[in-house]
């Protein structure tokens, strides 16, 4: 017989999977609408270019400007939807092989908005030499979100947060750095039972560090699991 915490965990996993599938469906639909907008706008641009219109020069210039503006915004929205779609599909399977830089890039597109609202500069510095990982990508994105929010909470307006990736032997390392911030004793890292549970499931370790003038850093070391470790 399944006990209560196990049932709750199964239910949460199923909810996450359903949410992911609905979000993936939504982003597919939005891409279809965006495709039509891009092609229709492109057709107006083509008519202006290939056939020309009889009108004042200023009207043609205004139309061209509007067409270019629509195209620019479509390109931005398309990139965001591309990331949203990838993000939504992360819950398709619990354990999967993935590229850490790609996973962070798709999440950071959305995290960047929170930084912007607080007037904090957020940069992702990916190490291109990372090895592929086999682990739980959706859980890792959840953990990255929590760590990012902790950093953002302590960052000052006008300050910055840097997220760097690197490879240390077989471990992928992910470091958040908030320069110029000092915290009271005991505030140096996010703490909750759920966070520890996430670290356990990922087989990861979290190392907080703070020093005078050096700011705060959170370093997450992440292994690539074997299928046996993932199942256990």
């Amino acid at each position: 017989m399944t006990n209560e915490p196990e049932r709750e965990e199964t239910l949460r996993t199923m909810q996450l999977e359903s949410f992911g599938r609905i979000m993936a469906g939504f982003s597919h639909e939005m891409k279809n609408h965006l495709s039509i907008i891009r092609e229709s706008n492109g057709l107006i641009a083509d008519i202006l270019e290939f056939q020309g219109i009889h009108g004042e020069e200023v009207t043609v210039a205004r139309l061209t400007k509007a067409v270019n503006s629509v195209e620019r915004r479509v390109a931005i929205a398309a990139e965001m939807l591309h990331h949203l779609s990838g993000f939504a599909h992360r819950t398709d399977t619990v354990y999967a092989s993935f590229n850490l830089n790609e996973l962070l890039a798709e999440e950071c597109v959305f995290l960047e908005r929170f930084s912007r609202l607080k007037r904090v500069e957020f940069t992702l510095v990916p190490d291109q030499g990372l090895l592929p990982l086999y682990n739980n990508p959706a859980l890792l994105q959840h953990l990255v979100y929590r760590l990012y929010m902790f950093c953002l909470e302590h960052a000052q307006a006008g300050g910055r947060i840097e997220l760097k990736t690197s490879q240390q032997n077989k471990l992928a390392v992910l470091s958040f750095l908030v320069p110029g911030v000092s915290l009271a004793t005991g505030e140096g890292k996010p703490s909750s039972g759920a966070l520890s549970a996430a670290l356990d499931l990922l087989g990861a370790s979290l190392r907080p560090k703070q020093g005078a003038g050096a700011g705060v850093s959170l370093t997450l070391s992440l292994p690539s699991l074997t299928p046996k470790e993932a199942a256990g």
Partner: protein, 123 residues
């Protein structure tokens, strides 16, 4: 010199017909159909140089249509349209015989390049 013949198979009528008009404006002999089954019949009967095929359609799976086209009309090159966030579905299509894939919403410059390459490959 004859125009490169293109067939667009996509259930989104507005998308397919507008893309078709834009390809015609660029000197291609483009036509469009809006269901997978109709697209297969036309691809086999008309033997266009290049088919632009949507991966997800209500009546059939684009990958099944791709397999059928490559079986019944192997000289037709197929470029898949995918709305997926990852490149996995596009790569899978290429493993099944597609010439290449392109992610929606389509960048026309990129599509034109792929059409030219596909037509050149066909010879």
């Amino acid at each position: 010199m004859s125009k490169t013949k293109i067939l667009i198979i996509d259930d989104e009528v507005e998308f397919a017909s507008t893309l078709c008009q834009r390809l015609r404006l660029r000197g291609l002999d483009a036509s469009d159909v809006h269901s997978g089954s109709e697209g297969l019949v036309q691809a086999v009967a008309e033997q266009p140089e290049v088919v632009i095929l949507d991966l997800k359609m209500p009546d059939v799976n684009g990958l099944d249509i791709l397999t059928e086209i490559k079986t019944q009309a192997p000289r037709v090159e197929v470029i898949m349209l995918t709305g997926h966030g990852s490149s996995a579905s596009g790569i899978k299509a290429m493993e099944q015989g597609a010439f290449d894939y392109i992610i929606k919403p389509v960048d026309l410059g990129e599509l034109m390049k792929k059409i030219t390459q596909a037509a050149e490959q066909r010879g």
